[in-house]
Symmetry: C2
Subunit: 714 residues, 2 copies
């Protein structure tokens, strides 16, 4: 067991062996299908597993018609995997046997470990140690199982497989879930709706194999293009990030449903699996940065999987709509607009081609309201689809049809027949019945949904993201010694916080423009200080003991003459005397001309480590509550500052409208990237940084950091 495994070229080998064992021992096998050991064995026998199955049951000669063995030691050969379905207490001994017999893998389907409290946690620790020392790849514990459709390895006891007539269909989708019930239900709902879910991995307590390891290994398998994850908390976020980057390189997609996204949900998640829920909007920013699609719920996860499995290659955002109903066309238009997609413009060829196919009362505009015609005359439907497909200004085609219960298959067959001939993705909205057609179309890779919202929410994650603007090359060499000196000073003084003066020195050392300022330790020093400052200035009283300067009158604005500065500074030192602040001095700071106030920040996220924040700044930054959060852990990812700005809710504040200054991402980017470099390089010493405001002005001058505070790591 190597915990650091993953991301190496052969990362998937172990998973391939796990999912296609030559022989399997089922410890706790039973005749009673009400018991896990009965159901799992039955499924393995029913769903066509080709390997050898050894039931282990000390009390029986036979189980479900197969010769049973008293223990693992009695088997004619060590199996490739031992599936352990006995009590938690009894399973420890079984695992020791596995180690002795050099069985390479075990799946613990039993519960009674960390999820039940301290006693179980101790047992779990013991099991983990045995597995580690014995080199056993451990699935679970507390998992209801894993499935590989191709090898017929249905190693699960979820009752979801306990029904007739489900022919499992292999396909490019894999589901990895931290909830067994959710994973099994999704596998089943996917399968029965025509989605090719080739593998299921329910990760349970993850003491050996974690969700991230499985995701990473699945990406290396040529069988899988789309990995759907149900996550309550990531145990190895760095491996997840690495896997996500691998997916981007390989043109594969990860889709993630994060449960516990709200405060109450996170509390429930903590109670469920003691997993660390993580701040939701950090997930939001980081997943976006890593190209991981985020699902909002159970059905949405499967819906996205259906679309990405069919069309793994990203497509554009302009849709051509052919709708049997004007109303459905409008609702599709609404949904596209809300999702940041939109309507294609019909070109002359489309217009000329469809005109003769429409009755006089229907106009030739997108969304095209065709009424019933092309669904009665299916050659017209084919012609229209091809016309749409040939329009260079159109990226995808959506057909909305419904209420043809008797004729549904006739129409569905034409759509399924036409889809592979088209160059661009085809999606279907089938409203008013159409169960059979929907199943048929989904089974033939024409993603079909029952309403506009669901269709558009499903297809939006497949849209090609805006082009990534490469970070400008920055040959600045930070003055690391200067920054380290400020840090060392603060540490030696036992400070937990570096105030704005020291903070701005550190920012400046990393090439970030800061407001021009000077510290005076007496009224007499004002004249010298002003020699290097441009009036007007601001004077601020500074003391370690003083938190809210402004509240005690410690800030004086708009000092436009040297006399008024001198007077203000004298007043502030007098204030310090009255407040008994012997360490006080006064910061004189040039007043920065008005501009757009942003904030730049960094913080240590409990899941992902240091992240950077860019958003709307100013005194009401908290109220705007409008920031984008990104990982800084890796130079290679870079930060797409254009994209960060574009995703702010109040981006209209930055576009130069309303007489405001326009914020140019190209001008802003070097500052953000230099800040990210600072954060990365000083991450061992710093827990959080706020730079607010950092003021953006007209033209191509770098933004100026006006105030900041650094919080040191404990």
């Amino acid at each position: 067991m190597n915990d650091d495994e993953g991301c190496s070229p052969d990362a998937s080998e172990w998973l391939e062996r796990l999912y296609a064992p030559r022989s399997v021992a089922v410890v706790g096998a039973s005749d009673d299908i009400k018991l896990p050991g009965g159901r799992l064995l039955q499924f393995m026998l029913n769903y066509g597993f080709a390997g050898h199955i050894y039931p282990i049951n000390p009390n029986r000669e036979q189980v479900q018609g197969r010769a049973a063995f008293k223990s693992l030691a009695d088997l004619p050969e060590p199996p490739d995997i031992a599936i352990v379905l006995v009590s938690a207490a009894a399973s420890v001994g079984v695992l020791e046997q596995c180690a002795a017999l050099k069985i390479p893998a075990a799946m613990f389907g039993n519960s009674g470990f960390a999820e039940i409290g301290p006693e179980g946690a101790a047992l779990q620790e013991r099991v983990a140690r045995i597995a580690r020392e014995g080199g056993i790849r451990l699935v679970g514990p507390n998992t209801n199982g894993i499935v590989d459709v191709k090898s017929g390895f249905t190693a699960t006891f979820s009752p979801v497989l306990d029904q007739k007539g489900l022919a499992l269909r292999d396909g490019p989708v894999a589901i990895v879930s931290q909830s067994g019930a959710v994973g099994a239900a999704m596998f089943y709902d996917g399968q029965r709706s025509g989605l090719g879910v080739g593998r299921l991995y329910n990760s349970g307590n993850e003491i050996g194999v974690t969700l991230e390891m499985v995701v990473d290994a699945l990406l290396d398998s040529p069988r899988f293009t789309t990995v759907l994850c149900y996550v309550e908390g990531l145990r190895r976020p760095e491996l997840f990030a690495a896997a996500a980057r691998k997916a981007q390189r390989l043109g594969k997609r990860i889709v993630l449903l994060k449960a516990g996204a709200t405060a109450a949900g996170a509390k429930a998640a903590a109670a469920h699996t003691a997993s660390l829920a993580g701040e939701d909007r950090v997930y939001d920013g980081v997943l976006h940065q890593l190209g991981v699609a985020r699902a909002r719920g159970y059905t949405h996860l499967l819906d996205i999987g259906r679309v990405l499995a069919t069309y793994p290659k990203p497509y554009g955002r302009r849709a051509s709509i052919l709708s049997m109903s004007g109303g459905i066309g409008i609702m599709l238009t609404d949904a596209l607009e809300r999702a940041g997609m939109g309507l294609a413009q019909f070109d002359a060829t489309v217009l000329a081609g469809i005109e003769p196919l429409l009755p006089a009362f229907l106009g030739a505009q997108n969304p095209l309201d065709v009424s019933g015609g092309p669904f009665h005359h299916l050659d017209r439907l084919r012609t229209m689809l091809r016309l749409f497909d040939g329009n260079p200004g159109s990226d995808i085609t959506i057909v909305a049809v419904g209420s043809f219960e008797r004729r549904q298959m006739e129409i569905a067959e034409v759509l399924a027949d036409e889809a592979p001939r088209l160059a661009k993705p085809l999606f279907v909205l089938w409203f008013g019945g159409g169960d059979e057609a929907t199943l048929y179309l989904n089974g033939r890779n024409v993603p079909t949904f029952p309403d506009a919202e669901r269709l558009v929410q499903a297809i939006a994650p497949g849209v090609r993201p805006s082009a990534h603007r490469p970070s400008p090359v920055d040959d600045l060499v930070p003055d690391r010694a200067a920054a380290r000196a400020v840090l060392a000073d603060a540490k030696s003084a036992g400070r937990k916080v570096i105030d704005e003066v020291g903070g701005k020195r550190m920012l400046s050392a990393y090439g970030i423009d800061v407001v021009n300022e000077s510290v005076v330790d007496s009224p007499e020093a004002v004249r010298t200080a002003l020699a290097n400052l441009r009036l007007p200035v601001v004077a601020k009283l500074r003391s370690d003991a003083l938190v809210h300067k402004a509240r005690v009158g410690g800030v004086r604005l708009g000092l436009a003459t040297s006399e008024s500065v001198a007077q203000a500074v004298a007043d502030l030192f007098e204030l310090a005397r009255r407040l008994e602040l012997p360490d006080a001095d006064v910061v004189l700071q040039e007043q920065v001309p008005a501009g757009v106030e942003l904030l730049l920040g960094a913080k240590r996220d409990a899941t992902f480590g240091m992240v950077v924040t860019l958003g709307i700044g100013g005194v009401q930054a908290e109220a705007w509550d409008d920031v984008q959060i990104r990982l800084v852990d890796d130079d290679a990812t870079g930060l797409d500052v254009h994209d960060m700005l574009a995703r702010l809710a109040h981006r209209s504040l930055l576009d130069g409208s309303g007489g405001r200054t326009e914020v140019d991402a190209t001008v802003l980017a070097p500052t953000v990237l230099r800040f990210a470099r600072l954060v990365r390089e000083l991450a061992d010493d710093i827990d959080a940084i706020d730079v607010n405001p950092i003021i953006v002005r007209e033209g191509d001058q770098a933004p100026t950091a006006v105030d900041t505070v650094f919080f040191l790591k404990d």
Copy 2:
């Protein structure tokens, strides 16, 4: 035809007659079920309509086995309704026959009217006139039909009814739709999923009967508690508002899906039915005010209908969750939290009662993760449901179960059996299969959904709204003469705009506190003016020709001494001379102490008429873009200022946090209500008003309007 009909005590009579005719003529009846006249006749014959059916076809002796007639004039009696399915051109003559025969109602299923352009519009006008003059209640034109399940009156040619085995189920839900395809599909999808949709009305071009008239009349029928509307644009918004208020009085519910909610969607809607789309957030505010639930899409409309039809009485927001899966419990918790609902606290009785029913490893907290236990031992399930139901701190119960394909009906039967014994609503989330159980439960009034998002989005509109705070009694008598005088002055001067000075006089006349100010027409007048003003003041140059005062340096802030005021005023008159503004004077205004800046506004909405707006004000009001909009048309509705503030996105700006002033709705309310009174009383003269900022300060002093502008009606 009386256009003003509606809201009278007997408003529903005409609709009852329309839906249960004793005899029906089908003009254009056919043997060919590919044609509307074939399908409609077939449905009428198949679905058990008890009245008499007269096929009209000049070329046949018999149609579908019934004796056919050459024309309406040949019938043995005038039918209660003529269903007209011949061409638009031919239908004019048919309608004239109806008028001659005194047939009280006609349904025009044909198209070729206003929706095809000017020629059709002229034809439509003719048809409307004949109907009006002949006293004929006209359904359509351009409708695919209407259905009443109880009377078997399936007067539609939508192919959605063209299938076997659908036994229509009567029930308390009615669907009224401005799209025939959407209405018919919803009727069918509702029926086949166990929803009792007793009536369908597809309103077509609405030249006689509009959607609002049908909604209003349906509310008077004891058969219906829940009206689901698909709307592209309201033609009679005032009748809709009146109907909504009637629904509130009767404890019935209207649910509305507004298509064309986005700009692109509205454009598509305009192309579809030439209906006026209306500003979406005006709809949002007004529907909320009227107690109309708003659906986001097709499925959502049916889902809400299912919940409200089962539980028309509002319930509280605290849910007790019993879940087979920890993961599903977490997702439910997330969804509840997002919807402003939440978890109930288990009381001592619940805790003591469930403890012995749980295995040791499962904790007794909400959401209760029960694993499979109670679904294998169904007596435990019953016990738990009753314990939840008895908890005074719990308002609703949600059971999440799934993946029991073989045993689904056994579990569903227990849930359906238990539901009517419970005092509080029971909802079911069935994940992983369960088609049969879902259909069974929905058919037995246990609303069942396949995932957490859908369930919670469906149940949220049924939650009891926060208690309405009655508007404080306000015995202020507005100085209407003063306000009218300002209006008259502006009009006689030919102005389209009343500036802040006149505007504040009008606000003041209606009892709204305004900043103390004085206008000086020369520097010499300053001394007299200052006698009534408290320093510091602001001086603003004012001229009809000057739009952006601040940009030309026409505003001077913080004038703290009479000398500085005199100097500033002299400077401003000098500026006026240079800018050649002979009409200029200067406004001296007291500087209002800092507080929270709100905006108060009014505008004429294209659909609903005058509406008032309350939201976050200040110079960046447009960027915050955070307002609540309400109707002012009716004193009786009142304005719930608490609710308006509570629904602002940035309400945290108003709660006193971050050192800001707390905005007390009770203190604010009289000002908002007085403003609404002004808007109501002057609505004939004014198109829009902006009051921004109106500043709220600590304590119980009324907020002060600092700046305003009134736009006069053309």
